[in-house]
Structure formats: structure tokens, C-alpha cells
């Protein structure tokens, strides 16, 4: 009964979450409670999710991706900094025309040179841009005149346009040109950004709040909300209590236990978006002690399949997430149109798992409950970051389920930094990990492809290598025909699911809470904040914080001279 009530609540909330904006004059303050703090506020340089959120509102891209996240061609995109664009006859270049009314928040005009400069910066390895590895198909960017930026591509590809616009919000060259790219992270400007977006930076009080104000003269039109403020705390409980008590209007990461608390709060709504996250237990296929050798346990494909068969993934997802997640399908999510939601899985079958382990020679000869082969017990460690309650719970459930198959699992909880360090050094047996993917399913190449396994700093930490999988992914990404693309991705996913380099666990459904006075005009699956400029608070529902006086005019970040004697060593 409780589950039914909960499902009804979710349905109702989902309907509310997608309602259109009510007619309303501008005004109002949106307070977002965040259980984290940003590092810096410059796109490309920031490595934190919160930094991305904030910088996405301050900076603009040439064009914005649509809510369907269609990345093939340019049909799903709408103009932003570029008011129009044209393709060359051979489709190897795209000329973007920069909106002549676009201005940086310090009053300078946005020019094509800013686009060229942004591309060059992202291609500078010292910037540490997340776009660096994904811009391989863009050969260069030129600025033949102040209003035209031309992207030149190495080859035709379905997601050329996406590569050009999605990965790089445009930076102001006049602010950054004279600073070495490697020094950007530590600069004062990285904490007081100047962008061209519909919100401009006002202040950042460390560990307390970040405030943005509407850019009322913006070329794209003033946003409806006057202010967006992130109220920062490092503790999840504090952040969620701040939201539930009404001090904040929005919270982005509700857990099942929070959702049950919200049932008693009529002023709070729940919204769910399609997710781009999935979690998995990644098996290390190489021996951590000597990567030249296969892992003594997980090097065997049949054994990996038997372990997968012994894990009831559906029960784990229900236990940990209640109804706030689906069992994961593979290295993908249901959000992608290229993903077949009926991908065949290795089924949960404990009896068959036991039989397979027996046939592989792993038997419990001494009756201690753990199988052995040639004197080596079938045991390994599952490493999990202690900061993630969900992952710890999943690890414990896997431990118990595998125990029933005669496999001994030690759950090793670590500090998140230690966890990352172990992954990067590939010094683990199994890690419970999660990935937030991008609108392009192509990021699977870095996480599960051979290139990601062999590159020194590749992110295929389990070292799964399959030429068949690689070939299907490469072919899928090169296919312009949508059904063919989907068929090739399906073949790739079936290959990796059968090879079982990981136990695919959960695909969380992003569950967000917001105050009922807020009129939420849609949430984009990759970035719920993308449409904040269209969100509003009707006048009759405003509270004192919605009626704050206008924010102070732009003031530049302190120059290095102002911080003399305070420079980084």
C-alpha cells in the first residue's frame, strides 16, 4: 500500500514537474540547497558538478541542445550565442554567426575571436578541460571576421555539431588571454567569472553561498527570476533539512527516505527526470600486482558470468533505491534513443551460478562456506567510497548474495579520495562505481573501450578490452541512419553484457524536490538547471526573500595587484 501511495505521489509530482510556466512578471529568488561546494566557476576548468551548474548559467554556448538530447546533426539545437549557422558543401566546416547584440557582463561585445580563443584553450592540456579528449574531430577554429567563427572538422560525423557547441561554453578572451592557462584555476577571476549568460555573478561567500543575479540587459532576454542563490553546506543532512524546512526552494538529490518525509509537506513537490547515470560493480580484469597478467579470479569470463548470475540485481535496486532507480541495462541508460530497453541480461540464477563455479573447479572442499581451487579461496575485496550510502549498501548486499554462492567478499570502505586513487592506479579487485554520462553515448568509448584501457590516464579502470565491442561502438558513432545506429549500439551492448566485465547495478532516476510556489518550466535530463531562466514565482506566492533590491552593478574581480603578497606559491 505504501509503495502504491508512493508511486502515485511520484506520478503526480512528475506531472507537476513538467508543467509550463505560468504568466508572471519577473522577480523572485530561487534558493538551491547544495550538499557540496564548487571548486571554481569557469567551464572547462571546474571539475565539480556544482561548478558546472553555476558556470552553465553564467556562460553561454553557441547553441543549446534540446530536451530530447538529439545529438545527430543540428536539428535538436536552438540558437544561443550564435544566432545562425551554415554548413559547408562538404559538411567539413560549420560557420557560426555570433549574435551582434551579445555582450559580456562587463559590457564588452562577444566576438568570434572569443570562440576561437575558447577552442584553443580547451585544446591546451594544461587547462585540464573535460572537453580535451572529446574534441578530437575538431581540427581548428578560425575567425575570418569579428562575427564569424568557423569550425573545421577532420571528418564527417553524425555528432559534429554537438562536438562544436555542447562541449565548450564560450569564454571572454579579453579576460583570460594574458594569463597562462595553467594559472586559471588559482586566479581570482575563476571565482568571480564574467560570462555572457542570462545570469551574472554577484558574490561567492566561501562555504556559505554563491549568488547570481539576472542580467536584465541580456541579448537573449532577461530571465524571469531575479536571483539564483546556492546555499552551500558540506553535509547532506544539513542540505536536505535546509530544503525541507523551507529555507531553500530546491534540492537536487532526494533519497528514498527524504521522499517519504516529503509526503507530509504539502508545500513541496517532487520532480523526476530521465537519468544519465548508472552504477556498477567493476571487476578488474588485470592482476593489480602485475598488470601484464590477467586477474587470478576475474580473468576468467565464465567465472565473471557466474558471479553476475549469483547476484539478484533487481532485489538490490529495490532494497537500496526503492522505486527511485531501475536495474542498469549495461554501460548505458534508458535515456538514449540508441538504447534498447529490452537488452537481454545475464539472468539471476543461483543454482546455475553454483553449477558453473563447480564446473570451473571452484569447490568448497573444506566445508568452510568458501570455494577454493588449487588451494586459493574464491575471495576478493569490493572497494566502495564510504561517503556514498547507496554504494555501501549495494556492496553489503552483494557480499551477502555471493556468500550464498560460496564466494567470500570483503567490503572495503574508503575515503572518496582513496577510492579514486585506487581506481586510477587500478589497484583493486572490484569497485562499486558510477558514471554520469553525456548526451552522446560515445563517452562509452573512454569508459569501456580498449583505448580507455591502454591510455596511461584512461578511464577504463577495469581494463576490459574487446575488439568486437570497439568495432560496434565505432560503427555506431559513425552511422547517420538512426535505426542502423541503434542496431549497432545494441550489438555493442550485448557483447559487453555477455562478457560481464562488470555487474550492472542501478540506473538512478534523478529525483528533485522543489517548493510549490516555484513554477518549473521543464528540466533537461543532462542539466536540470538549463531552463532556470524560464522558471518563475507568481507574485501572489512571493515571500520576503523574493523582493530583494536590485543587485549591485558589475564589479570586476580583484586584480593580482589587489592581492599582492597573497599569490599562490
Amino acid at each position: 500500500m505504501a509503495t502504491l501511495r508512493f508511486a502515485a505521489l511520484i506520478l503526480l509530482a512528475a506531472c507537476v514537474g513538467t508543467e509550463g510556466p505560468a504568466p508572471s512578471s519577473s522577480g523572485g529568488t530561487l534558493v538551491i540547497s547544495a550538499g557540496a561546494t564548487p571548486d571554481v566557476l569557469i567551464p572547462g576548468v571546474t571539475a565539480s558538478g556544482l561548478g558546472n551548474q553555476i558556470s552553465d548559467l553564467v556562460f553561454d554556448r553557441l547553441a543549446e541542445i534540446g530536451d530530447s538530447l538529439n545529438i545527430v546533426g543540428d536539428r535538436g539545437f536552438t540558437p544561443r550565442l550564435a544566432d545562425r549557422w551554415s554548413w559547408s558543401a562538404d559538411s567539413l566546416s560549420i560557420a557560426f554567426h555570433v549574435n551582434p547584440r551579445a555582450r559580456w557582463h562587463d559590457g564588452q561585445p562577444v566576438r568570434a575571436e572569443d570562440v576561437r580563443f575558447t577552442f584553443e584553450s580547451n585544446r591546451d592540456s594544461t587547462m585540464g578541460s573535460s572537453a580535451f579528449a572529446l574534441l578530437g574531430n575538431v581540427d581548428s577554429v578560425t575567425a575570418p571576421d569579428s562575427a564569424t567563427a568557423v569550425f573545421w572538422f577532420r571528418s564527417r560525423a553524425p555528432q559534429q555539431f554537438y562536438d562544436a557547441v555542447y562541449l565548450m561554453p564560450i569564454l571572454p578572451a579579453h579576460i583570460w588571454r594574458d594569463k597562462p592557462v595553467a594559472s586559471w584555476r588559482a586566479s581570482a577571476e575563476a571565482r568571480a567569472p564574467v560570462g555572457s549568460g542570462r545570469y551574472r555573478f554577484v558574490r561567492w561567500t566561501p562555504r556559505s553561498s554563491v549568488e547570481l543575479a539576472a542580467d536584465t540587459m541580456n541579448y537573449f532576454g532577461a530571465p524571469k527570476l531575479n536571483r539564483v542563490i546556492w546555499s552551500l553546506s558540506s553535509d547532506f543532512n544539513t542540505a536536505v533539512t535546509r530544503f525541507l524546512s523551507g529555507e531553500a526552494d530546491f534540492f537536487e538529490a532526494l533519497r528514498p527516505e527524504n521522499v517519504s518525509a516529503i509526503r507530509n509537506l504539502p508545500q513541496v513537490r517532487i520532480a523526476q527526470t530521465k537519468g544519465l547515470q548508472y552504477s556498477f560493480a567493476q571487476l578488474n580484469l588485470r592482476d593489480p600486482a602485475n598488470r601484464a597478467r590477467p586477474h587470478p579470479v576475474f580473468g576468467d569470463r565464465e567465472l565473471r558470468r557466474a558471479l553476475t548470475m549469483a547476484v539478484d540485481r533487481g532485489a538490490i535496486v529495490r532494497s537500496v533505491y526503492d522505486t527511485l532507480a531501475f536495474p542498469a541495462l549495461g554501460p548505458t541508460t534508458r535515456m538514449y534513443t540508441t538504447t534498447d530497453p529490452n537488452l537481454p541480461q545475464i539472468p539471476f540464477d543461483l543454482a546455475r551460478a553454483r553449477a558453473t563455479l563447480d564446473s570451473l573447479g571452484w569447490r568448497d572442499a573444506d566445508g568452510d562456506g568458501t570455494r577454493e581451487r588449487n588451494g586459493r579461496p574464491l575471495k576478493f575485496a569490493v572497494t566502495v567510497p564510504g561517503s556514498s550510502t547507496a554504494r555501501v549498501r549495494m556492496a553489503v548486499l552483494i557480499q551477502e548474495q555471493l556468500r550464498q554462492a560460496g564466494v567470500k567478499v570483503d567490503v572495503e570502505q574508503t575515503d572518496f579520495r582513496v577510492f579514486l586513487d585506487k581506481m586510477r592506479r587500478r589497484a583493486f579487485d572490484v569497485v562499486i562505481s558510477g558514471l554520469q554520462t553525456q548526451p552522446s553515448p560515445g563517452s562509452v568509448r573512454q569508459s569501456w573501450g580498449t583505448a580507455g584501457s591502454r591510455a596511461r590516464d584512461g578511464s577504463n579502470y577495469g581494463s576490459y578490452e574487446s575488439p568486437v565491442f570497439d568495432a560496434y561502438i565505432d560503427s555506431a558513432l559513425a552511422a547517420f541512419d538512426v535505426p542502423a545506429r541503434r542496431a549497432l549500439f545494441t550489438k555493442a551492448y550485448r557483447t559487453i553484457i555477455e562478457d560481464a566485465p562488470a555487474i550492472w547495478l542501478a540506473e538512478p532516476i534523478p529525483t528533485l524536490g522543489y517548493h510549490s510556489r516555484l513554477q518549473v518550466a521543464g528540466m533537461r535530463p543532462d542539466a536540470w538547471w538549463a531552463h532556470i531562466g524560464e522558471w518563475s514565482i507568481p507574485e501572489d506566492k512571493r515571500i520576503p526573500r523574493d523582493n530583494l533590491p536590485a543587485a549591485a552593478p558589475f564589479s570586476p574581480a580583484p586584480s593580482p595587484a589587489d592581492t599582492a603578497g597573497r599569490k599562490a606559491p
Binding site: A188, E211, L232, T241, G246, R545, L548, K567
Partner: protein
């Protein structure tokens, strides 16, 4: 000497933990190892540990605490904002906990063996055995969610404070101070009450108390003028001992209430492997504890005529 020792220990321990400021702050897998390596070289983390320590100590000798990577500011500036907040919280908790603890002990002693004595003993034992973070979370839920009378966290309202008048700002600060101060006070008061009660019970059978009774003084006057004064000396010693405990308690309480003090900064710095801020916070913390002990010694000397006499 002590500060140098503390600096060396904390420097060594934090460097022994896996990761560094760049693996910590840049947990994005798409940030390449080459970029991390560049940053390590740029900030000297590629040098041998003894060399890094020697550089840190020479910097410390010049009064520089280094650069905070997680705040992108000098450690001196970060602590200049955080230390006053922690001192404010600790001072209020110290004064309030001693006042409350002594009051509770006096009530218990005057009503020895009564139900009130039993209830107060039980309560002080409860607070004494309760983990600080647990009480903080309980207070947070009780007074901000179930009974929303106080703000959830921070030192000020992140939205409205900048737009308030002077009176409003003061009131805003006080409202934000109540819950963390109350939590810290309750925890410390339990210790004070139990010590003070034991000290009073030790003093009451003394000859001079009996003499006072024979002189016809009321129990209240005896307690106030004679017993309490003499039973205060062990409590003054407790002030010195309370400083480290309060500072440790403040670490957890600041974290739960997002109070922007030194404890909050320290925990976040440890998580992000912000070496200079960790070591700087530990040094300042040890200095605060030393000053607290010194203050307690001075008070003790002032309160005990035997020490003043020489």
C-alpha cells in the same frame, strides 16, 4: 617548540594519507594525469617530503601559513575568517556551560537524594554519553524541521543577510548562533555539573562548613559563601581541560550546522587534502589550547589565595 612539534606531526600525517590537493580537488576522470602532474610540479608537490617540510617551516618562520588550494586564498585569510567564528562559539559555550553546570550542581546538592537530583543526574549522564554529532543532528531536526524556530545552518542567512539593517544583521547572527552554541553548551555543561556536584559533596563535610553552620548561617549562605568558593577550584582546572574538548566538539558541531569556523574548515580541508590549511588549522588549534590552559592557570592563581601568597 610545541608548535613546531605539532606542525611536524600534522604535516607528516596528512602527507601520509593517499591523494593530494590535485587528486582531491579534481575528481573528474577526464582531467588527465598530465594536468595533475603539471600542477604538482607547479606547487612543489613533486619534491621529496623533507624538502617540502623544510620549505613549509621556513615559510612558517616568516609568519606565512601557505596557500589554501580548496579556497584559492592564503591560509591566513581563511583562518582569519574561521577562527573568530570558532572562538565566538567556544566562548559562549564555555561561559554558558560553566554557568549551567554549576547551577545544576548547586540544585542537586541542595536537594540531595530528591527526585530532582535523580532526574538532573540522569540528564547529565545522558548528555555526557551522547556523541556530539548525534545531539547536533537531533537539535537540527527538532528545532529546524519539526519545530522550525531556528535557521538550519551557517553563520548568517545566505540570502537576506546582505540586505538587512544593522539590527537585523545582529539578530540574524544571534539566531544562527543559538543551535550550535546550545548543543556545545549542553555537552560541556554535563561534564561541569558532574564535577561540580562531586566537588561540592567533598567540601560540605569540611570543618569550616560545620563551623559556619554552628555560627547560625543558613544553608544557602553556607553554600554560596563557603562551599561554592572552595569547590570552584577543581572546576577552574576543568576550564583548561575543556578547551581541547570544546575544540574537538566544535569540529563536529560546525560540520552539522555548517558553521563557518575552524572545525568546518579543517574537516573540509582534510577531505580535499588541502595540506597547508590542515596544518595551519592544527597549529592554530594547538595555540588556542595552549592559551586556554594558560588562562586556566591564571584564573586558578587568582582564585586560590594559597597560590597568590606564594
Amino acid at each position: 617548540m610545541i608548535v613546531a612539534f605539532v606542525a611536524a606531526i600534522s604535516f607528516a600525517l596528512i602527507h601520509l594519507a593517499p591523494g593530494d590537493p590535485f587528486s582531491a580537488a579534481m575528481d573528474n576522470p577526464s582531467v588527465s594525469d598530465a594536468v595533475r602532474e603539471n600542477l604538482r610540479v607547479q606547487y612543489g608537490f613533486d619534491r621529496p617530503l623533507p624538502e617540502q617540510f623544510a620549505r613549509y617551516i621556513s615559510q612558517l618562520a616568516r609568519g606565512e601559513l601557505g596557500w589554501s588550494f580548496s579556497h584559492n586564498r592564503p591560509v591566513r585569510d581563511v583562518l582569519a575568517h574561521a577562527v573568530p567564528n570558532t572562538l565566538l562559539l567556544m566562548s559562549i559555550a564555555l561561559i554558558a556551560s560553566f554557568a549551567l553546570g554549576i547551577l545544576v550542581a548547586v540544585v542537586q546538592v541542595t536537594r540531595r537524594g530528591s527526585t530532582t537530583d535523580g532526574v538532573l543526574s540522569g540528564l547529565s549522564l545522558l548528555f555526557l554519553s551522547m556523541p556530539d554529532f548525534w545531539l547536533a543532528i537531533l537539535a537540527l531536526l527538532t528545532f529546524t524541521y519539526w519545530l522550525p524556530v531556528f535557521p538550519v545552518g551557517g553563520a548568517v542567512d545566505p540570502v537576506m543577510h546582505e540586505y538587512m539593517g544593522l539590527g537585523g544583521r545582529i539578530l540574524d547572527r544571534l539566531k544562527h548562533l543559538v543551535l550550535p552554541a546550545l548543543t556545545l553548551t549542553l555537552l560541556a555543561a554535563a561534564t561541569v555539573a558532574r564535577h561540580q556536584r562531586a566537588a561540592l559533596l567533598d567540601v560540605l563535610p569540611s570543618d569550616y562548613i560545620r563551623t559556619a553552620r554552628l555560627k547560625g548561617l543558613t544553608e544557602r549562605a553556607i553554600l554560596r559563601r563557603h562551599a561554592l568558593r572552595n569547590a570552584t577550584l577543581p572546576i577552574i582546572s576543568l576550564i583548561g581541560l575543556s578547551f581541547p574538548a570544546l575544540l574537538t566538539g566544535a569540529v563536529f558541531i560546525e560540520r552539522v550546522f555548517a558553521w563557518p569556523g575552524m572545525g568546518y574548515a579543517l574537516v573540509n580541508a582534510i577531505e580535499s587534502r588541502d595540506y597547508p590549511l590542515v596544518v595551519g588549522s592544527v597549529i592554530i588549534g594547538s595555540v588556542m589550547v595552549m592559551l586556554g590552559s594558560f588562562l586556566a592557570d591564571m584564573l586558578y592563581a587568582w582564585a586560590d589565595p594559597r597560590l597568590r601568597a606564594g
